[in-house]
């Protein structure tokens, strides 16, 4: 019955439609069909015959796999470290005072940590021979995760086997295509790679410029009002570093948190430098500003700085951190951190908790060095006074970055020859989001004496006067 009614209905539609409309619609249908078939069959071009294909293949001249490398490329020449890294270091045959290794708390010289790590080696062997999922989880890994979570007063921590991969895996575990990430333009390279991997829309704001960030956020809000449906699905993230590797500045955390609340962003902090250096108890930039750690959605940090081992971790609420155990690529698909290095991190945390005064010592050294190093006649210092990482730039800019790098390299070489190990910061200028101004990156060590800082100042001052 229904079918007959429907048939009659269709019949009446045809009868009532003017002929020209019918013709027009038929043409339309034919066009659509033609377009569909054309796309499928012909592809972008007509099909080639076998001979034509062979000809194209014979003519195909690929570029060489890699271009030639300039034998004088600055990155080809590396300095050889010939001793254990500590306050003192032997570089290229010169015994030096070390202002280049990121061993802020001096734990690399700590025999106790080393012995505990070696004990661990004797229990577990060297490698873990598997990813975390497949028998690569050892009790030390779980122990370390517990300890970090407790130390930070958060619910859950997750340990990665490489500092670089920590933040680079954490960001794309949450941010996906279609999301938007607000990022400080001075973020380190690992974060930049994490952003690339997420395929989200990236909005860079000026370094530590909260007003610029707010301007971008207001723009976003306007866009959202135009398209509220899309806005409901767009996750928004804010990514910053505690202390910036590339500038030595501390992020304005309270302002970032306020904006996070106002615009409903999720805040990810990379504390690779600030963890174990800032705050009274070494808890990082949150403690420094006295910000509640629940305000931060995820804190990630490398363990290759103050903890003086290898690897990294992310810490946050259970809801957030747990997700990486199934989605953090560098966590799932990589062999777990060698147990002895995990043990070294646990031992470092022991020291953090047992001797919280080390952080104050480091901060006071950083301050002393900051005051002293602000007085160079031909170099300018950048970085927060409390930061253990500082940058020295040429006071008088040279014509281009290559030239500046050359001068700084010469300066570093001569300083090393005179017993002060400083190095120019290494960047892949062609791969960075934007070229980074060459500098000498100074890393402060807790064990430096005031006299050491004075010596270093004199050497660098006299070398810079000679070179520049």
């Amino acid at each position: 019955m229904v079918a007959i009614q429907l048939f009659n209905e269709i019949g009446s539609i045809f009868r009532n439609t003017p002929t020209f409309a019918l013709v027009l619609e038929t043409l339309l249908v034919i066009t659509v069909i033609w377009l569909l078939l054309h796309r499928r069959g012909g592809g972008r071009r007509r099909r080639l015959t076998k001979e034509e294909e062979d000809q194209i293949i014979a003519d195909f001249e690929p570029e060489p796999l890699v271009g030639d490398t300039d034998p004088d490329h600055p990155l080809l020449r590396t300095r050889i470290v010939q001793s254990k890294v500590g306050k003192q270091i032997r570089v290229d045959g010169h015994d030096c005072l070390n202002l280049g290794s990121h061993n802020y708390l001096g734990f690399l010289e700590d025999q106790e940590i080393l012995d505990e790590a070696c004990k661990s080696l004797r229990k577990y062997g060297v490698g873990s021979c598997g990813p975390r999922g497949f028998y690569g989880t050892m009790d030390v890994h779980l122990d370390l995760e517990d300890r970090i979570a407790k130390f930070m007063g958060l619910e859950e921590a997750i340990v990665y086997s490489y500092g670089f991969s920590t933040v680079a895996s954490a960001i794309p575990a949450y941010a996906k295509r279609g999301d938007i990430i607000f990022v400080d333009e001075a973020v380190n390279f690992a974060i930049q790679k994490g952003l690339d991997a997420s395929r989200s829309t990236i909005a860079f704001f000026k370094h530590n410029d909260v007003e610029d960030l707010e301007r971008l956020l207001i723009e976003m809000e306007k866009r959202d009002q135009k398209n509220p449906k899309k806005a409901l699905k767009t996750r928004r993230f804010l990514v910053a570093e505690g202390i910036y590797m590339n500038t030595g500045e501390i992020c304005p955390l309270p302002e970032l948190v306020a904006l996070r609340q106002k615009y409903k962003l999720r805040l990810f902090l990379d504390e690779s430098i600030s963890f174990g250096t800032l705050g009274q108890g070494g808890h990082g930039v949150t403690e420094h500003f006295n910000v509640d750690r629940d305000e931060i959605d995820l804190i990630s940090a490398g363990m290759e700085g103050s903890m003086a081992t290898i690897g990294g971790f992310c810490v946050g609420s259970h809801f957030i951190a747990e997700h990486q155990r199934l989605s953090g690529l560098g966590y799932i698909f990589s062999a777990s951190l060698p147990p002895m290095l995990t043990q070294a991190a646990i031992s470092a945390l022991d020291r953090f908790e047992r001797e919280p005064k080390i952080f104050e010592q480091l901060q006071s050294k950083a301050k002393t060095l900051h005051q002293k190093f602000s007085q160079f006649s031909k170099l300018t210092l950048r970085g927060n006074e409390l930061s253990p990482v500082k940058h020295l730039y040429l006071a008088q800019a040279a014509e281009n970055f290559d030239k500046e790098l050359k001068l700084l390299t010469e300066l570093a070489d001569k300083c090393i020859a005179r017993g002060v190990a400083v190095v120019q910061a290494a960047y892949l200028q062609n791969r960075e989001r934007q070229p980074v101004r060459p500098s000498i990156r100074i890393a402060v060590n807790r064990l430096l004496e005031d006299a050491d800082i004075a010596t270093a100042f004199e050497v660098i001052e006299s070398v810079s006067n000679a070179v520049l």
Partner: protein
């Protein structure tokens, strides 16, 4: 994903049929000459080996008569071995014989030979139906569960009105499907991951939401770790050298290679790695995953075409994503499909640039595929690469050390000049019992990487004890330590692999991959069987790895065994006996191939 298996399965079946039919040599005559070329003494060994090396995958016999000889094959010493009772001595050196594991039967073309030894048996239809049914049932139950009961999972606090952080399906899957067999992964151990390991027992009172340690430990035979050559040990030369290195140089450098992280040990390691492969130069990194993920973007750009095997590892896929290159996928280990994709890619050029020719074309394959257990067809790929002027990137994460008579990886296995491969990549995590990765190739390539590699410039340099472990184990494999240990280990692994795979085939379970690959996936198909097998194996004191969706296609849940040179015949027999019983109980003997009734000789 799911339909791949049917396709490639038929390809393998075909080549198998042609060889068995009338000895007709099909296809690819000129391509590759790897495995068939043997020097006279090797040939002799082969002949002597042939007597007992009836290929278990291909020999046609009746099915019934397998059980008795299998029992005969069990060695009497079997009962003696048990991981928790350490009464027997593991003298694996004493069971070594001088026969070389055979690599080829002279008359077949290498490609046919390879396919004959590679098994990708198709799933029986009713199992396929059951698997899907089982999976959907799990999903439906999961949804009902989610509707009826408030999940015990942590909820987000203080973020009201925010856009949801997680994709609904993703969190549903992990909470209501994966959770049911969550206890089969991330199992904590508290010992060396050597030939045996100690599991820390844990229980769950709430169906997998959380775990509690019971305080007890279980000693298990380790068939899960990537300890191919058995260098994971807390005593012995490697551990001694590592400890010495740690005492001498500390645990880290706290700097990148380009700043204050370079040292003589790492330079020695690079020179040693280059020598190991017989190439000009090498560069090493602190993490295997990062070696792929952070170097591929330096090598290829947006106007490059990458032709990648569909079963390539996640690190490669991430590297490709970061590079912005166009990626085309070819069917797993299928050379005809690779050639088709190559031809099309080159002929039609870059569609994003109106068909302009590509800057370069890179073929990206792995040596041994970790989930499939198959070995790459290197000679054919090299022939194709030359024909189409493409470059070849070979990821040897699982094959370095484990393949070839000298442990140099698949180039050694196929007797191919390593210089024919443009970029050799691999990790130190597995066969070397350490951590990290390398890239090896021409001096020009490595110099380029030194100036362009993300990991080299920004990431921390390798920790001294970790680097030392690699150095010592590599020297042992090369025989530079003046002992035969390395050679024996390689030999032992090859023997274990052959033995274990043949015995499994004889049991009638379906295994994937090549006869010579120490990665042995055993198909169980059903999601629930992954859990059942892993748990039952644990009660039998065997630690193995399960893999299911999303790591594999929904259809192909599997248990993976990784063999090691540290395993003895007794240990393997112990495992095989348990697997046999479990396979009977749980119905895992899916294989419809004829089984070899003769006892498998170790």
């Amino acid at each position: 994903m799911g339909n791949f298996d049917g396709d490639s399965g038929t390809v393998f079946e075909q080549s198998y049929a042609t060889t068995n039919g009338n000895g007709r040599v099909a296809g690819a005559n000129g391509i590759g000459n790897g495995a068939a070329n043997f020097s006279p003494p090797e040939k002799q060994e082969l002949l002597s080996q042939r007597k007992f090396s009836a290929p278990a995958y291909t020999e046609i016999r009746t099915r019934r008569c397998h059980s008795k000889p299998t029992n005969d094959a069990k060695s009497p010493s079997l009962i003696n071995y048990h991981p928790e009772k350490k009464s027997i001595s593991n003298g694996h050196a004493s069971v070594l014989s001088e026969s070389k594991p055979n690599q080829a039967e002279g008359k077949l073309s290498p490609e046919q030979e390879h396919f004959q030894k590679t098994s990708f048996e198709e799933v029986p239809l009713h199992t396929a139906c059951l698997t899907y049914l089982g999976f959907y049932l799990l999903m439906i139950l999961g949804y009902i569960n989610q509707l009826l009961f408030v999940p015990k999972v942590a909820t987000e606090k203080g973020r009201e009105g925010y856009v949801k952080l997680y994709d609904a399906f993703e969190s549903f899957y992990s909470r209501y499907v994966y959770r049911r067999i969550k206890d089969c992964w991330n199992r904590p151990i508290c010992s060396v991951p050597g030939e045996e390991l100690t599991l820390k027992d844990r229980v769950t009172d709430d169906y997998g939401w959380s775990f509690k340690f019971t305080g007890t430990e279980t000693r298990c035979l380790n068939l899960g770790s990537y300890n191919y050559l058995g260098f994971a040990a807390a005593t012995g030369r490697c551990a001694d050298d590592s400890e010495e290195s740690a005492q001498e140089s500390g645990l880290a450098y706290c700097s990148s290679r380009c700043e204050l992280g370079d040292n003589e040990q790492l330079q020695e390691l690079e020179a040693q790695t280059a020598r190991y492969f017989g190439v000009e130069d090498a560069i090493v990194f602190g993490m295997g995953f990062a070696t792929n993920a952070l170097n591929l973007p330096s090598l290829i750009g947006p106007n490059s075409l990458v032709i990648s095997d569909e079963k390539n590892h996640a690190s490669i896929i991430l590297g490709l994503r970061l590079s912005g290159a166009t990626t085309k996928v070819f069917k797993h280990n299928n050379m005809r499909d690779l050639e088709r994709v190559l031809r099309q890619g080159i002929c039609y050029g870059n569609p994003k640039k109106g068909g302009q020719p590509w800057d370069k074309v890179l073929i990206l394959v792995e040596g041994i595929f970790s989930m499939e257990g198959s070995i790459v067809r290197l000679p054919e790929i090299i022939a194709l690469k030359k024909k189409y002027k493409a470059y070849l990137y070979l990821d040897e994460a699982h094959s370095v050390g484990a393949m070839g008579s000298r442990g140099r990886g698949v180039t050694d296995y196929f007797n191919v000049d390593p210089k024919e491969v443009d970029i050799l990549m691999g990790t130190f995590t597995k066969s070397f019992g350490s951590a990290g990765g390398y890239l090896a190739g021409s001096k020009k390539l490595i110099d380029f990487l030194r100036t362009n590699s993300h990991a080299h410039c920004y990431a921390a340099s390798i920790s001294p004890p970790i680097a030392q472990q690699i150095l010592t184990s590599m020297k042992t494999i090369m025989g530079e330590d003046g002992t035969e240990i390395g050679r024996k280990k390689i030999h032992q692994l090859a023997r274990n692999t052959r033995y274990f795979r043949r015995r499994l085939a004889q049991l009638g379970v379906i295994t994937y991959g090549h006869e010579d690959s120490p990665v042995v996936p055993m198909l169980v198909y059903l999601f629930s069987k992954i859990g059942a097998v892993v748990r039952t194996l644990t009660t039998r004191h065997i630690a193995a790895v399960g893999a299911g969706f999303p790591a594999t296609p929904i259809m192909e849940g599997r248990i993976r065994f990784c063999l090691s040179a540290a395993h003895t015949k007794e240990q393997l027999d112990f495992a095989l006996e348990a697997i046999d019983e479990i396979a009977d109980d749980l119905g895992l003997k899916y294989s419809r191939k004829p089984r070899d009734p003769n006892p498998v000789v170790y």
